[in-house]
Amino acid sequence: MRTSEPTTPTRAFRGLGAFLWTEALVQAHESLAMATSMLVQAVLLVFVWILAPSLIGVALVGAILYSTFTMGQRVLNEAAYLRIDHKANDLYLAGPMAPEAYFLGMAGGTLLVYLAPVIVLGILAAVVLNLTLAQGLLIFALAATVWLFSASVGYVFSTFFRDNRAIWAYSSLFFNVFGVLPPVFYPYKLFPAALHPVALLMPPSAAAGLVQAALGVTYLSPAELALAVGGLIVETTTVFLFAIYWARRTVRGS
């Protein structure tokens, strides 16, 4: 019996648009998960609103950055769920879709759907902090960078799991340790000074530090600014390129 020649992706990112839209439609049906995506941010904002109302502006900016950071957790859950539970990734990747389009389509589709509450947070932050256009654009650019970093990390992490049940524990730990402990929802001055370089090397808190410096809430020395900007760019680029390499490699491996 003749079989057709296996279709191999000839073009990078082939099928990205189609899979992004597919994933957006899938995610749009997950109303419960969408509501859950804002839980930690809501909890921390409530804490700040009740216990330290003067910090609400910083906390709102932190909530925006944290929201884009936790989109990586959505990518992790979705990629693991499709692979472990539905075994659908084999089906998708057996077609002409490029592996990096699978990863980026999933990340982009998730972003599209989960963006709405982030926009609401952005409007609230703009009202509370009286943001200028430049500050608004800075927050947008940094949030986009943090999203790219976390989506890449989420996708790579998802390939290591063999059991859906264990995912939440590891992902909660990762995203809370990197998103809540360092100064994302609170000003840098409340964080131990000796640990500032560590926080500036973590993408969510580096982005928060840069926004806080732009808002005049925190002072960052030129060296600290360079560390935050350099760290963010290098880490995001490295992790993103690695995720693309990993997506291609895991397909070949299977």
Partner: protein, 260 residues
Amino acid sequence: MATMRSEFPNVPTTGRALPSFLIVGWRWISRNPAVAITPILLPFIFLYFLSLISPPSLLPLEIVGAMLFTMQNIGSWVLGDSAFWRIECSLQDMFVASPLSRIRYLFGIAFSNLIAMLPALAILTILLAWVGGRQGNPLTPFAFLVLVACLAVMWVLFSSVGIGISSRIRTQREIWPIGNLTFTILGMLSPLYYPLSALPPLWQDAARFLPTTYAALLVQGALGITPASPDQMVLYAVLLVACAAVGLVITLRLYRWGEA
């Protein structure tokens, strides 16, 4: 047909449910270290955040809140386990067919999840004794008893809430969001991490319908964090038991067993 009792006369047929679930709980955390570490670390992450933004005098209250919140979150774990076993592993049919009753099954899952939470609760108790002692809110034997009693009520109530909801869940994708949403909202509505008086009036009124509020007020009163007269303490205890009883009746009605 030979029954198990006739084939294995020396094997006990009762009193094995809880030890079995204890082993299940232990195996689960021993095979997945993050599962044991996460519930320990998460309350500490919140406590660390709160200690940065709130007055230091509130720290004992926040530690008590973390303990009650941890215990309440067992409900989310019970929900996750029972739904996973039913939907993914189809294990519940086997339990239904066995002599295990639905209440024993509930306590079994609640017990296995309590195992994973015990290290967090032990560390928080030591921290409470240390911080409370330094700030003039010592953990006296009376306060300790009140704390343990409130934690026990929370454990039974929210485990049954968890299993009641889980029996209505249809797909695995719903497990995590429903559990997270339910138990986090319930925890945030109650004055666990802040004094009741710090909340807006409408919120205070809503919080008075929740058992966790009375558990928090009782422990805060016993420790002297939020002053309460003996009469008020009795009232809080009565309201806690009454709210918990109402909650139990509702969730046990919600809880599907054989017919699911």
